[in-house]
Every structure is written in C-alpha cells, then in structure tokens.
C-alpha cells in the first residue's frame, strides 16, 4: 500500500460523517438563522425570551444543583470506597457505579415513579404530598441516581492515585494533615473534581428521556422538553425554527462545558500514571 492510497480506509467514515452528522448540523444552523426562507435573528431572540428563557434557566438550575450535590456526595462515597479494606465491597460499589452511571433514561424514570410517585410504594409510607416527585427537588433526587455513580467513577481512580508516600513525605517534613490536604491532596484532586462537576452538569443538561417518561415538564421547565414539544406539535407553525435556535443555545452551553472538561481530563491523568 502506498502512502497516497493509505487514507482511503478513512474515506467511508469521513463521507458518512459529513452526511449523517454534518448535514443535520448545517440544517440546524440554517434553520436557526432563517424564518420562511429569509435570514433573521428573530429565532435566536425568541429562544432567549419568555417561556424559552425560563426553560433554559430551569435546565441550567437543575443541572447545576445536580452537578454540585452529585460531586460532593460522589466524592464522599468514592473516598469511603477507596479507603475501605474490603475488596469485595469495593468491587461491588465500583461495578454498581459502572452500571448505574450509564443506566439513565426511561427505566430510571419508572423506578422512581414506582417508588416516590403519586401511587408509589415508599411515598405512601412517608406520607409525601401528591406530586412531590415531579417538583424541582424530586427531579434532582432522580438525576442524582446516575450522577453520584458517575462521580464515583471519576473520583475513585483519582483518590487511588494519592500515594501514601506523599502523605509520609509531608509528615516527615513536619506537615500536619491540614498541610497535606491543603498543599498536596486537594491540588492533585482539583482537576478531577472540576472535571467531574462539569461532566455531571453536561449529562444532566442533555437528559431528556427520564424527564419525558416521568412527565416532569408540567412543573419543572426544561429546555429539552421544550424543544421536543416544539418539534412534535403540529399546532405551533413556525415554532420549529425557534426550536432549532433553542437547540443551538443548548449546543453552545454544552460546547462550553466540554471546552472546560477535556483539558481538565488531560491534566488530571498526569498524576495518575
């Protein structure tokens, strides 16, 4: 095989990519900036007003709360797992985290509906008011079910990477536990922590299936539900392009999130070899 022919193997993927990923993205951009065939900024303006803005703010709020709480709880759980002496327990928690972190979507919604929904098994025992699951905090509790395991998966290797020798070195130099965490532990963990927060935010922000299956949209405005409604309803003519503009807003937010995450991920692997 000569050098000039070598890249031919990559050609099918590139062509496929251009058509199946490139064309929809171009269509999205074109739709967001046009209305009835004319270029306009109206769609974007509308996507940042009224109910659309509320739904964007709702999504950002839910995702931010889930990211911060999930990061905190996930780190505590990961620390408990990593410092535990029982390898069986450790294996069990890490395996379960692997399953639950990737197991979102529709079934997750039904688990929580069966547990804390209006006719749920546990909501009866706790005497929860009707609709408690479909509130802001209800949604947060549901989203934490995949966010905490995700954080455990991010933090467990990072915490494992804290070598006992570093702690001993700090102690030999007369440092206290505070000094160790302040100057060694936390700085080494910071990229993983921040990366985890950002990852959790991104996954909660993009989530649609769980909220849709729960029917949470009636109480908590979410941008994913808003886009889906605008795309599937036949009543709102012209809303389609606003939905595309909303999608563009979402991609911008998700893109910012990834722009923060990827460099952090590279940095956090530096100490973990």
């Amino acid at each position: 095989m000569t050098r000039s022919k070598g890249w031919l193997g990559a050609l099918p993927l590139l062509v496929f990519y251009a058509f199946v990923f490139g064309v929809p993205l171009v269509a999205l951009l074109a739709g967001a900036f046009t209305s009835r065939g004319r270029p306009t900024l109206d769609n974007l303006r509308q996507s940042l007003q009224g109910g659309n803005l509320t739904s964007m703010a709702g999504s950002v709020q839910v995702s931010a709360v889930v990211a911060l709480l999930g990061a905190l709880l996930g780190t505590v759980l990961a620390y408990a797992v990593v410092t535990s002496r029982f390898t069986a327990l450790r294996q069990a928690v890490l395996t379960a985290s692997g399953v639950l972190a990737n197991f979102g979507g529709v079934p997750l919604a039904f688990f929580w509906v069966a547990t804390l929904g209006n006719s749920g098994v546990v909501s009866g025992l706790l005497g929860l008011p009707t609709g408690a699951l479909y509130s802001f905090w209800g949604l947060v509790v549901v989203y934490l079910y995949f966010s905490v395991p995700l954080m455990v998966l991010v933090m467990a290797p990072a915490l494992d990477g804290l070598r006992p020798q570093w702690r001993e070195a700090a102690a030999n130099n007369g440092g206290t536990a505070w000094h160790y965490w302040r100057h060694v532990g936390v700085p080494v963990l910071t990229p993983s922590l921040l990366g985890g927060v950002v990852l959790l935010f991104g996954s909660a922000f993009a989530a649609y299936a769980t909220a849709a299956a729960m029917g949470a949209g009636t109480v908590v405005p979410l941008v994913t539900l808003k886009i889906a409604n605008a795309l599937t309803s036949d009543v709102l003519i012209g809303q389609e392009n606003v939905a595309l503009a909303l999608s563009l807003d979402m991609i911008v937010v998700a893109g910012l999130v990834m722009a923060v995450y990827l460099p952090l991920q590279k940095r956090s692997t530096r100490w973990l070899r």
């Binding site: 410092t83 979507g105 804390l116």
Partner: protein
C-alpha cells in the same frame, strides 16, 4: 453483612483503636448510599408484584409477554442494535487502521470528529436530523434520491435510526478501539505479516482482529446497550423501538412498564459484565 464484619476482625485487630472512628463514618456513608440506591429497586420490585386488591402475584411479568407490541418492539431494537454494531465497526475499524498505518496526520482530526457527537446533546442532533430529512425530501423530490430518502425512513426497519445511532455511539466505539489498538504495535505486526507473505485480508482477519477481540467485543456490547436504552431519537422521529414502547404502555399498564424496567436493568447489568470480563481477559 454479618459475614463481612466477621471476616474483618482478625485483620483489624492491631490498628483497631486508631481506625475505630473513621470506620463508623464509613459505615454511615455506605448505609445512606445503600438506602438511596437499593430502596428504589426494592420498591419497584414490590410495585410489580403487589396490588392491594389481588395481593402478591407475578402476573405483570406474565402479562409482559403477551402485551401488545412487546415482541415487535423488542425485535426492532435487537435488529437496530445488530445493524448499528455492524455499520459502526465497518466504518471505524478501517479508518482507524488507515490512520495508524499510513495517514498519522489524520489522527487528531479523527479524534476531534469522534469526540464531537458528545458535545451535541441527542435532542439537538435529532432536531437537526428531522429538519434535514424534511428539507431533503422537498429538495430531492424530482430526483431518484428521493426514493432512497423515503426508503431509509421505512417504519418496518428505519435505517435512519441506524445511521443516527452510529453517530451517537461513535465516541464510545472510538475510545474502545483506540484503547485496544494502543496495546499492540499495529505497524510492526502488519509489516511482519506482509514480509512473511500474508495477503491483506489475511493480515486483517488472522493477525489484527484476533488481537482486537476484546476491544471489539466491548464496543459491540456498549453499542447494543446504548441502542436498547435509546429513547430520544426514536421518539422524536416517530418510531417505536423498545424504550419508546415502554413509555407508550406505561399509561395503561403501570405495573408492566416497571416490570420491563427491572428486566432491562438486569439485561444492561449482564451486558456490562460481559464488557468488563472481555477487558479483564485482555489484562492477563
């Protein structure tokens, strides 16, 4: 739990005094986490087998098999999953080998392209996809391509979903194969095999693929798991594979939909177990 605590005693005899407090703290963390993660599973199980009127019965699981659309949607999801696996491997494997063997300058491009679908949330991707399908049908109406565009949207087997799923799983498949390719020196292997007179198909099927077996297996299982759980794209394009079907029946048969959810968690867990055992074998 009692068995685990019993095991721990001889090990912990010496430093017991020092670690007594942190261990309590850890036990509390595990207890709270256990409650939060296990109660919904237990409650869901209870929900599917108990009703105040008829008591405990496993009827929901039996009803499942006869429920309208169950077999059809399951078969559709399985078909979509297998087609997605075939297409994504057929596209990525040659591309990644070509990049390693003869076009290393394409490698950063490939990495960016294969990470990009992670940045685009599925709902926004399907918004663009739906729009381009509709505009495409208008633009291509006078040409023969129109028939192709309609054919890939056939509700019996929507090829368009396979295409969309390939895009969605691309980042995961790329990472998995990249990790597999990292464990071997592709160029040396290929040169050695070629010098010994092996033909290209022989190199690919007898040298490279056997070395990549576990990476290919894990990529395939991940793809299957992802396709089975996928809801957003299928729902918005108006098809009814498994995940969409569950939501459709949840209105009339709440118990059945929860029962299916439990079964799909079990299935997902088994698939991931298969992935991790495929990777575990490679390490040895």
């Amino acid at each position: 739990m009692a068995a685990v605590t019993g095991l721990e005693q001889p090990l912990a005899a010496a430093p017991a005094a020092r670690t007594a407090r942190p261990r309590l703290w850890r036990a509390a963390v595990f207890a709270v986490a256990g409650l939060y993660f296990l109660v919904p599973l237990g409650a869901s199980l209870w929900y599917t087998i108990y009703t105040p009127t008829s008591g405990v019965s496993f009827g929901a699981y039996g009803e499942l098999l006869t429920a309208e659309g169950f077999a059809g949607s399951l078969a559709l999801s399985l078909g979509l999953g297998l087609a997605t696996i075939a297409l994504v491997l057929l596209l990525t494997l040659p591309a990644m080998l070509a990049v390693r063997l003869s076009a290393p300058r394409l490698r950063p491009v490939m990495e960016v392209l294969c990470t990009l679908p992670l940045v685009v949330p599925p709902i926004t991707y399907v918004a663009g996809l739906g729009t381009s399908l509709r505009t495409g049908a208008d633009l291509l109406a006078p040409t023969p391509f129109w028939a192709t565009l309609i054919a890939i949207q056939d509700p019996a087997f929507p090829v368009v979903l396979v295409l969309a799923y390939v895009v969605l799983v691309l980042p995961f498949v790329y990472r998995s194969l990249d990790a597999g390719l990292r464990t071997m020196d592709v160029r040396t292997l290929v040169e050695a095999a070629r010098n010994l007179g092996a033909s290209w198909p022989h190199v690919v099927f007898r040298v490279l693929i056997p070395n990549l077996r576990s990476a290919l297996a894990s990529a395939s299982f991940l793809t299957l798991a992802l396709v089975f759980g996928e809801f957003t794209v299928a729902r918005l394009l108006g098809y009814q594979p498994f995940a969409v079907w569950i939501v459709t029946i949840s209105g009339s048969r709440g118990q059945v939909s929860v029962a299916v959810s439990i079964l799909s968690l079990l299935l997902f867990w088994l698939l991931l177990l298969a992935v991790s055992s495929a990777f575990g074998r490679e390490k040895k």
